[in-house]
Amino acid sequence: MTSEPRTSEPLVAVSGLSVAFPAGDGGRAGGGLVRAVDGLSFTVPQGGSLGIVGESGSGKSTAAYALLGLHRDTGAEVTGAVTVAGHDVQAADDAALRRLRGGVAAMVFQDPLSSLDPYQAIGDQIAEVYRVHRRDASRRAARARAAEVLDRVGIPDAARRARSRPHEFSGGMRQRALIAMALACEPRLLVADEPTTALDVTVQAQILDLLRDLRAETGMGLVLVTHDLGVAAGSVDELLVMKDGRAVERGPVRTLLDTPGETYTRDLLAAVPRVGVRRPGAGVRGAGADDAPLLEATGLTRRFGRGKDAVTAVDDVSLTVRPGETVGVVGESGSGKTTLGRMLVRLLAPTGGELRYRGRDIGGLKERELRAFRSELQMVFQDPVSSLNPRRSVGESIADPLRAAGKLDDAAIVARVRELLERVGLDPGVYHRYPHEFSGGQRQRIGIARALAPEPKLIVCDEPVSALDVTTQAQVVRLLGELQRDLGLALVFIAHDLAVVRQVSDRLVVMRGGRIVEEGPADTVYEEPRHAYTKGLLAAVPRLEGAEAPA
């Protein structure tokens, strides 16, 4: 390829980088610009690794994209200097930039589901990239190289699996395949944009291990973009904290995590849920163990499909929720936790087993008979964007369940909605605003207000904070705790993030393959897990503290 740059030169040198996107839809007419990255400078030494962390909107991905010149021809305005392995990215012509992309610096994207061409065999896709950069390579050689890198990233039977299409791979295998594509042309730098965010915690741990091994083996540099400080803590040497497009703080990862200099970094760290820390104030309330159960599921089962295509999503699950307590449900994707949650509030009918609410069997009730219970069993959904109707004002959305109940007149409904908005920490004046005007955290507060509206006894929260930044996450979790204390709500808290669940739960249920593998008081399960699966899950959680090794 091009001449080897001198080793004294840094692998990546970014100085005064600014990226601005045209604001609004009238972009061409010289409207305003939104500055996503503002005067950013950093370097990565040869073979070094840098983690760029920050909350959503901090500009961390935008900065990473600039390393490969990916903003070219997108209408974005890029200024400043970006040098990668001696190549001036800003000054390179289109052909030189194409040689850089994949050949010198390779990118691994967040979502392995959508980042591969669904129509082509995975091996062919890697071979295509290889031949872009090794023009003299034959088809056969490219295919052999694809099998070789797939084998390297741990795809079993790589030569045969190279002929599979992406939908035949699991999420973790797809991410491995993307990493294999990145490896194909032996780049000097790997840029990974949230490479494990879409993956389960055990798969995440495997991918992070793979990245570490590959770096040790090839000596390539790494720029890792992540919102998860735990992921960054174990994977990079240096950390760059970003906020509003600017660098807040930069330094060696241990120094920065142990003794953060800036308030923002300290706040960010404080908001990160720790899996090894007990729930503050746990046991104080003495969650009524002697109270009669509010909701009792016995042998609950849900099958989808029929005949030989049938899938049992939830299989013989028994669970009790008492008034005022929080039951945490954790599990990886496909464990059936969401299906269980939807059955508990009877948004979904069980195909087997019994579901009792205050002693009354509601498992087999028809929609009409259920109406009496609807107001007492509510649900908060994961995605605060798509679970609110974008064409209705948030006040109207919150009022819907009240109108459905039909007990209050219009004036009383509006008064109640304003009260609810205030209760979840929003200005009651936002009644007539629309969902797109709110941030993710605010939207989740609106979702909670809507669930609270009919004065429920039990709320099932399905991944309520997993789409939110850590600081927002902490606020929403705190709000749920307050509401529970003040209103005596019972909560079922479903999440894949073990640390978040620990922060809120009195009791914990661990699910796998539609069954409960372990159940008990939260602290007991976290501190003395009995089932091997629970132990594996806990060991896979990335930790901020270097000393806090898994048991």
Binding site: L70, R101, D111
Partner: protein, 329 residues
């Protein structure tokens, strides 16, 4: 795959059965004397009586319909009073006004319509997808704006304007082509092609505008997907991104639309057939409708329906071939 096709065929038969009930009901239970209508205006009372007898109009409606279905599946014998007239298996009855079996009339007309449909479809698909592809490749440029304008104009120009323009230009003014007169393919393939050229182009142009717009929009949609970004980030050239990665994802909607279009073309592209004097099914349908030749109208509707249903099955199979994730079951 075989199981899938069998299931689809069964479904198709169901659809056609419903269709036959609806058209049969509309035309035979309509007010007025069906026998008089079917026989035509110049019939004397004896002839009408014979028609009534042949259509078994004395029987209850469900029996009449049963005879109609029986005729399609197994053929039918009509008594002419002195002799028995046999009508072979797909028998759609008799056109009294033309003194002909309806099936024979259809068979006579089908080649012209099929020629037009196949050729026009080829022209519109080639031209449409190529135009769409080009405007997606040159997005944002002058080429794209010109092409967008042209396709818009194409959609907005009725075939009797564009067809007339083509006729005047190539046949009258330049005299490069003869004024089209249909020559069957089996008679003289070369003359067939030369004479069909203008109808193909006229109908194909009109239809191609739709495909150009569809190809362009679904290509742009695919180009915004994450996997395209992946290959862009690995140095794959823009042109190859379109032809090698985006195109395949974009053909789905084109296949679906073209199947429906192709099927309905078998009902006759009426304006084009009339304009170029093609003895096709469309022209037959127009004539049958104006003279209230009910058996012919029913038969044309059934043929069109069958073509649409078959085309859709073919489209679904092609769709699955283009996208391996689609499992046919």
């Amino acid at each position: 795959m075989t199981g899938y096709l069998l299931r689809r065929a069964a479904g198709a038969l169901g659809v056609l059965l419903v269709l036959s009930v609806v058209v049969y009901a509309t035309f035979y239970i309509a007010p007025g004397d069906p026998a008089r209508l079917a026989c035509g205006p110049r019939c004397n009372p004896e002839q009408i009586a014979q028609v009534r007898d042949q259509l078994s109009l004395g029987d209850p409606v469900y029996l009449q319909f049963w005879h109609f279905l029986q005729g399609i599946v197994a053929g039918h014998d009509y008594s002419t009073g002195t002799a028995v007239l046999h009508c072979d298996a797909p028998c759609f009855g008799l056109s009294y006004q033309n003194n002909q079996q309806v099936t024979d009339m259809l068979i006579e007309r089908l080649p012209a319509t099929a020629s037009l449909a196949v050729g026009a479809m080829a022209v519109s698909l080639l031209l449409g997808t190529a135009t769409g592809l080009l405007s997606a490749l040159r997005r944002g440029g002058a080429t794209e704006r010109v092409l967008t304008w042209l396709t818009l104009a194409g959609t907005a120009t009725p075939v009797f304007i564009s067809g007339l323009g083509l006729l005047m230009l190539f046949c009258a003014y330049l005299a490069w082509l003869p004024f089209p007169s249909y020559v069957p393919l089996t008679e003289d393939p070369e003359q067939w092609a030369w004479n069909m050229l203008l109808p193909w182009v006229a109908l194909g142009l009109l239809e191609s505008a739709k495909y150009a717009r569809l190809t362009r929009s679904s290509l742009l949609e695919t180009l915004a997907e994450d996997h395209i970004r992946t290959f862009r980030a690995y140095g794959v050239a823009e042109r190859k991104l379109v032809t090698h990665h985006a195109l395949r994802g974009a053909v789905g909607p084109v296949i679906a639309l073209s199947a429906a279009d192709f099927g309905s073309m078998f009902g006759g592209a009426i304006l084009t057939e009339m304009m170029f004097g093609l003895p096709g099914i469309g022209a037959l349908l127009v004539h049958a409708t104006t003279t209230l030749d009910l058996p012919v109208v029913v038969a044309v509707v059934m043929v069109t329906g069958t073509a649409v249903v078959i085309a859709n099955i073919v489209a679904d199979v092609l769709y699955a071939a283009a996208d391996r994730r689609v499992a046919l079951r």
